[in-house]
Amino acid sequence: MTDIFWLIPFIPGLSTFILAVFGNKLPKKYISFQACTAVFASFVISVISFIGLRQTPHEAYPLVKKLLSWIHVGNFQADLALQFDPLTAVMTLVVTLVGFLIHVYSVGYMSEDKSYARFFTEMNLFTFSMLILVMASNLVLMFVGWEGVGLCSYLLIGFWYEKHSAANAGNKAFIVNRIGDAGFLLGILFIIINIGSTEFAAISEAVGNGALSQSMITLIAILLFVGATGKSAQIPLYVWLPDAMEGPTPVSALIHAATMVTAGVYMVARMNVFYTLSHSAANIVALIGAITAIFAATMALTQNDIKRVLAYSTISQIGYMFIGCGVGAYAAGMFHLYTHAFFKSLLFLAAGSVMHALSGELNMQKMGGLRKYLPHTYLTFLIGAIAISGVPFLSGFFSKDAILTSAFANGQYFVWGLGLGGAILTAFYMFRLIFLTFHGKERLAPEVKKHVHESPKIMTVPLMILAFFSIIAGYIGLPVVFGKNLNWFSRFLEPVIYQAHGEAHLSLGTEWILILLSVAVALFGIFMAHVFYIRKPGIPHSLVARFPWAYKLLYNKYYVDEIYNAVVVNPMIRGSEIVYQHFDLKVIDGAVNGSAKSAGFFGRILSTFQSGLIKDYALIFLLGAIILIGYLVF
């Protein structure tokens, strides 16, 4: 039963094809039915393949299915081949399950949209590309999926392309991603030059056997990580993700929270052999992750747009995943990816439900007191917020704790400290969001208030299912304090993680202290939010009044966009303008117009021979005949 895993990406692929060709002629009900069913079928096959994988001995990993011989140049070969191993299993299960729930939610959310078929076509195309990305057995095919999800991201951010800001945000996402992709592509080329194969199994083996020099390993690791920072929105390439919130909310939930943006983490975990063998590259990954985690969290503090807060939160949480990968705890990083997919998509969908109820209102300052109007949304949002804040016994607690403990155990105290600081901020900004949106005084605009309504069942049921998973998902990876060998998740991933040295272990006492510390930090953040926004709502204002520069700095997101514009974007535009004026208009257009003009000139000379008078033609005919006869005779 395990060899059917190659069907997983192709069911949404087939569905994309049908919807792309016939979508405009099919009834809405059928479109949504087919799109959801395709993703659900992929989920079912993923579960079957997962069960099959559990029964396969570890020596047989990874299961590879070669579908087609694709590129074959000289000694280099890249096939259209899919693989299935624990890492892939985690990703396919997350992508198809969360993807399915978000597809169902979209049926309700997008029901009024005129481009209904286009939406589901692109969502299915995204699912297809994402599954290709995680199931590819070589880097080249993975890159195809990588670019495929980038394309879908661009298309779906700019889904409402009549809106200027949405079209611009799509462009920005695409261009910023290109910068990262250049690094990724260079990394792939270095691997091809030095190893001659891009099959993951071959790469791990070659690098593990010392085929590369230490500096080459570090170079490749850093280049691959540049690709990851683009796709996964890390410093310095994170700027596209907040703008990407221009897309429909289900898109933000699926692509810009749960799946695509975590592709970088998956890639780093997949290429873990490089980071295990190069400490300097791993330290860079951990440091970038930690700085991003806290930097993005501070930016989330002052945002008023409900989706932007969640976007910065996503950037920050992916930072945590990179901390996990950077300190060698790939399983912990993947674990956080897996739990984050549930609670972050839940938060986004719940935010979408709020927007749906408030006729598209995004500004939290115009909400408040929504608890009694939207009971289901409120409850599920609260569960998501508790899970992300790291309150014990929900999924986020286990995964975040696993990362921070690993960072501490590996002696990365600075990274650990930043992560802990980020955890306070996470709890704070999430509950600020809750309190401003659902508690306190109602600040709704009167015409909005008339239409406030709870979302239909088709939207709330996926919320509840995601809330359920946000609670229980963590129990497959319990920390060591609850008993040895309870971390089933990390043992499941063990076969795909390259082991260079034994894992650092902490004493049980230290583990307890770390856990209690992170619990205390989470509760402190929630408590502070409660003080700031419920008990004494005057505090934020007085703080702003006291430290206007700090507020301004945060509110304007450290002016990073402005700095990028001034340093990179505007010089580029101005340079292009100069090249356009002097090279394009003069040299290129001159050459093109010149050749057209010279053709016209010669044409005019020749056209004098075409007098239209029959006698002239006859004369030339006669001359020709005389010349011909003369030639034949003499």
């Binding site: 020749l606 056209s607 004098t608 021979f609 075409q610 007098s611 239209g612 008078l613 029959i614 006698k615 006859a618 004369l619 006669l622």
Partner: protein, 100 residues
Amino acid sequence: MIPLSYYLVLSALLFVLGTIAFFIKKDLITQFLAIEVMLSAGNLVFIAFAKAMGTIDGQIIVFFIITVAAAEAAVGLAIILLVYRKKKSIRSEDMNIMKG
């Protein structure tokens, strides 16, 4: 018995006269007649050779040419007639709408 060369010289004279007439005359009908003269010059060569060689092939070809020339004359005159209706003129200098 008239030698073959007499016929050929006559034919050449006729052909040259026809050609000259074609180029110096201005109206289409005269030019058309000039072409017919050139055609007859050609026919004359065919018959002269047929007689000199003692074969009948040349005479048969001439019959074909005369038949085709009759049809061609009908079409040619019809064209000239139509051109006249359209342009109220049969001067060949006026027919230059194909000028480039």
